[in-house]
């Protein structure tokens, strides 16, 4: 019986060998693939297994971590003043993943980023607890607070930039949400999130970066820049060739102004001061669609902007003549994000140089060493320094004795532009109130800001932009200037 016994022995050996080969295949060859599967909960467990690093504003964290019980996720994310900071931080939920900075900087915040390899190895030897690194933002707490308070219960958004560097100083969207309410993974969290998603006011929408609005009259700043850059008009006080009424090309209708304002052959300065649709519509038409697109693109239109959080592309459209004329006054298919309009104001304020907007100033290792520091970077030069200064004078006139008086700050030079964008078919819905502005001190311009308020009431003239949005912009600019003192 020994011969078959030996064969059975070989058979058993083959069985064991097959298992050995299989375990090698699974644990060596396929390990990476299995570890990166979406179904693999270990990835999320690991993400929340250690105290997450913080997002820092003005040297203080706006985030934190608390230990949770009764779950395989050890730590839960919490936010200080969540609704105010949510448009900056995004959320990081045990059950629903993460967004914005919490998502983009996850590697640093969890401490798993390759840049932290050295730190990780070091702490492995010193036996220190694993910790995430910090993300230091460019935001200005006072400005953010002023903007958030200014918008209050209104629906809208604020974006503020430092024109000289491109640093984002404020980024507010209302109504907002508190990411803390669904940071865990319980039923309560799911319900809270569902409620937010079902809310018709869309509190989780980041209006400052992800919503495009018709920019309305604030876009006249871009049109004016195009006129100066293309040499259509040289002096800002020279009379322009603009009849009143002015017929919209290829149509049978006249382009109307809001109210009875002196727009006939008005100079650029006066036209901006009174917000003349006829003057800027005609400029856009005189320059033509392509030149308008070129100038808008230099300001950042038609391109997604990464701050590193993505901002939707603003659109200056390729269009026919009447539509192009309408787009020149910020209507028709012209759409812009609040960030985009803040960039327009900041380019003018910074003597024509547009800086790349950014909100991460520094990434820190868990031991607080800087492993990345942002270097300011020029985005483009939409207009020459000389023309920028001309445009500044025009915008300052708007605030001094035009539609933007509400943005005045005593002892500070402020330039701005109001806007009321028509909204809905035949202007049926409530218009958007806009205001873009910048402040100037002896050492250049520390802040440019764009404000949009969605639910402005009935008042359909430019005063509503000045009335609703300008005070918010003023408060934000004042907060920045005060915090620099």
């Amino acid at each position: 019986m020994n011969k078959p016994l030996r064969r059975i022995a070989i058979f058993c050996g083959v069985l064991i060998l097959a298992l050995l080969v299989r375990t090698n295949y699974l644990q060596y060859v396929r390990a990476d693939e299995l570890n990166s599967r979406d179904e693999n909960r270990r990835v999320r467990i690991e993400r929340y297994a250690h105290e997450r690093g913080n997002i820092i504003v003005d040297g203080n964290p706006v985030t934190g971590s608390v230990e949770t019980k009764g779950s395989d996720f050890k730590y839960k994310r919490v936010w200080k003043n969540g609704p105010m900071w949510a448009p900056v931080t995004g959320y990081s939920s045990q059950a629903f993943d993460a967004s914005q900075l919490e998502n983009l900087e996850d590697g640093i915040l969890t401490g798993n980023d390759d840049q932290l390899f050295f730190d990780r190895t070091l702490s492995m030897f010193t036996g220190e607890k694993k910790q995430g690194g910090n993300v230091v933002t460019t935001l200005n707490g006072a400005a953010q607070k002023a903007a958030f308070k200014g918008l209050g219960s209104k629906k809208g958004a604020v974006a503020a930039l430092d024109p000289q560097t491109g640093a984002i100083l404020a980024l507010v969207s209302t109504p907002s949400y508190d990411p803390s309410v669904f940071a865990g993974n319980s039923d309560k969290d799911s319900k809270a999130r569902k409620k937010l998603l079902d809310d018709k006011d869309k509190p989780m929408l980041n209006r400052a970066l992800r919503e495009t609005y018709p920019p309305g009259s604030t876009f006249k700043v871009v049109t004016a820049a195009a006129a100066l850059e293309n040499g259509l008009y040289k002096g800002i006080d020279d009379k322009t060739n603009s009849p009143l009424p002015w017929r919209l090309p290829l149509t049978t209708g006249d382009l109307a102004n809001e109210g009875n304002i002196p727009c006939e052959n008005a100079s650029l300065r006066e036209a901006l001061r009174w917000s003349c649709n006829t003057v800027f519509g005609k400029i856009s038409d005189d320059l033509g669609n392509q030149k308008m697109i070129d100038e808008a693109n230099k300001f950042g239109f038609n391109k997604e902007i990464f701050t590193p959080v993505r901002a939707d592309a603003s659109v200056y459209p390729k269009d026919n003549r009447p539509q192009n004329a309408m787009a020149g006054i910020g209507q028709a298919s012209n759409r812009a994000t609040p960030l985009q309009m803040a960039m327009v104001a900041s380019a003018v304020a910074n003597d024509g140089k547009l800086m790349q907007p950014y909100m991460v100033a520094e990434r820190q290792s868990p031991s607080l060493d800087a492993i990345y520091t942002h270097e300011k970077e020029q985005f483009s030069q939409p207009l020459s320094g000389e023309n920028a200064q001309k445009l500044q004078q025009m915008m300052e006139t708007v605030v001094e004795n035009g539609t933007g008086k509400n943005a005045q700050i005593p002892g500070v030079t402020v330039g701005g532009k109001t806007g009321t964008a028509q909204h809905g078919l035949n202007n049926s819905e409530n218009p958007y109130a806009w205001f873009i502005s910048y402040a100037k001190t002896d050492s250049g311009s520390p802040v440019a800001v764009a404000v949009v308020v969605e639910d402005s009431q009935a008042n359909r003239d430019d005063i509503s932009g000045g009335g609703l949005a300008a005070p918010i912009a003023q408060a934000v600019m004042k907060a920045v200037i005060d915090s620099k003192k």
């Binding site: 019986m1 016994l5 022995a9 058993c12 298992l19 299989r22 375990t23 060596y28 396929r30 299995l34």
Partner: protein, 469 residues
């Protein structure tokens, strides 16, 4: 030139008993288990587990008793079998205890049954009963050939054991349990040994008839019906019962056992061909009408399929546990193999080995199982009687097939079929039956390796003895 010192012509040179080797390895096996226990405690709580001395003392007591009994009642037994079984049992206890600490499993138990009770203490109790079984077999069964007398009784008892679960409610879709008060017994594990005893007894008697008194047909030998009849009936019955109880792993095990033993008994390769043919027919037949089998096969083909995720999640989780372990593993107590939830410490305990001990640990554990099988086959080779040979190869073959089916199942090599890893997995029946199995193998190996008794002194011997000054 060397001086021949042993010039006597009578008596054999004593085979070394190797009992001290066994003792050394027992110490090693218990030390590894205790260190593993300490490791889990340090990893989970950051301190040595409070039960460590109790656990260590328990293992030493069990291992010590088993070793002393072997020393006394089976002095020439194979020295490896007992330490290997002890090591696996000890590691199994550690892994079960480690899974007891899992919040995820505790929560699941509380939400499902309203209460949670740790499994490790129960397993320690089962291990003690298992070792008692081991001791009883060695003490009572002085010679394995006695089992021959119980050929047909074994068959009857095995059939009763296999039929009984039909009268008890199904647990998780399989009717393989008998509940007696607080205890549940999985009779298939015991039936495995009884069927092996029956096959050995029957085949030993009938093997010549099966091998020789047959008609040649297409180059193969077909035995007469009256020789093959009983054994085929028993085999078919057990398979049928198991199919109806949807205990597929055990059916496969019995089938493999049947083919292996028939082949060894008759030495005819045609049996292998027969066996493969029958298994192919059986597998296709069962798979075509059994939805349970079909879902298992589908889950095996694509464990990550979205549509059947509910059925295949466990397997997918198990594969991810293996993947997460990688080469060196996460370390005991530091993995997440408890994501498998149901049966994490029973059918799927190997996933915990894979995740926390890694590829290195998996290979070590598989090799330990391989060594047990190898010692069993070696025992069969060494056995002097056909019954012992058949029984030893039957038991070790069954052991090997069980390991292949379970490990292959949780690693996605073959469709999952639900059996437990011997010694490692949680489960009373499994521990008890496998300790009994090891005891029988030890008994056979003792008989096989025992030196031949000294012949009766011959009066002539005196005269030819060399007289030394």
């Amino acid at each position: 030139m060397s001086v021949v010192t042993n010039t006597t012509t009578i008596g054999a040179i004593d085979a070394p008993s190797r009992r001290n080797t066994e003792l050394m390895m027992m110490v090693f096996a218990i030390a590894i288990s205790v260190f593993a226990y300490a490791n889990v405690g340090l990893a989970i709580d950051g301190k040595l587990p409070s039960g460590m001395f109790g656990y260590g003392a328990g293992l030493i007591l069990l291992g010590g008793v088993a070793h002393l009994v072997v020393r006394k009642f089976a002095p020439y037994a194979d020295p490896l079998l007992l330490p290997l079984a002890t090591l696996l049992n000890g590691l199994g206890l550690v892994l079960i205890w480690r899974l007891d600490q899992s919040q995820r499993l505790i929560q699941r138990a509380e939400s499902q049954y309203g209460a949670y009770s740790p499994d490790a203490p129960k397993q320690l109790l089962y291990s003690a009963i298992g070792v008692a079984f081991f001791v009883a077999v060695l003490v009572i069964l002085k010679d394995h050939r006695i089992l021959q007398r119980y050929t047909y009784i074994s068959m009857a008892v095995a059939l009763v054991l296999l039929v009984l679960p039909m009268f008890f409610p199904a647990v998780n879709g399989a009717k393989i349990w008998i509940s007696l008060g607080p205890f549940t017994i999985q009779p298939g594990e015991f039936a495995k040994i009884l069927i092996a005893v029956f096959f050995s007894g029957y085949l030993m008697v009938k093997r010549d008839a099966l091998a020789l008194a047959s008609r040649r047909f297409m180059g193969m030998y077909l035995p007469r019906g009256r020789d093959l009849g009983p054994i085929i009936t028993i085999w078919a019955l057990s398979i049928l019962i198991l199919v109806f109880e949807t205990d597929l792993g055990t059916s496969l095990l019995f089938f493999g056992l049947f083919v292996v033993m028939l082949y060894v008994a008759t030495e005819r390769t045609s049996w292998i061909v027969f066996g493969l043919l029958m298994s192919a027919v059986g597998a296709v037949g069962v798979a075509s009408f059994e939805p349970h089998v079909q879902s298992r096969v589908n889950a095996w083909l694509d464990p990550f399929a979205k549509a059947t995720w509910a059925q295949s999640e466990q397997l997918a989780q198990s594969l991810m546990a293996f993947g997460s372990g990688g080469t060196l593993g996460t370390g005991l107590g530091q993995g997440h193999s408890d994501l498998i939830l149901f049966a994490a410490n029973a059918d799927f305990i190997l996933a915990t080995v894979g995740e926390e001990l890694g590829l290195a640990g998996m290979m070590a554990v598989l090799l330990i199982y391989g060594l047990i099988v190898e010692r069993g086959v070696r025992t069969a080779l060494a056995a002097r009687d056909p019954f012992g040979k058949l029984l030893a190869i039957g038991l070790s073959g069954a052991f090997a097939i069980q390991i292949f089916v379970v490990a292959g199942g949780v690693m996605g090599l073959i469709p999952l079929s639900g059996m437990t890893m011997p010694f490692l997995a949680y489960g009373g029946s499994s521990v008890l039956a496998n300790w009994a199995l090891i005891a029988i193998l030890i008994r056979i190996s003792d008989t096989a390796r025992r030196p031949a008794p000294a012949p009766a002194p011959s009066p002539d011997a005196e005269m030819t003895q060399v007289v030394r000054p």
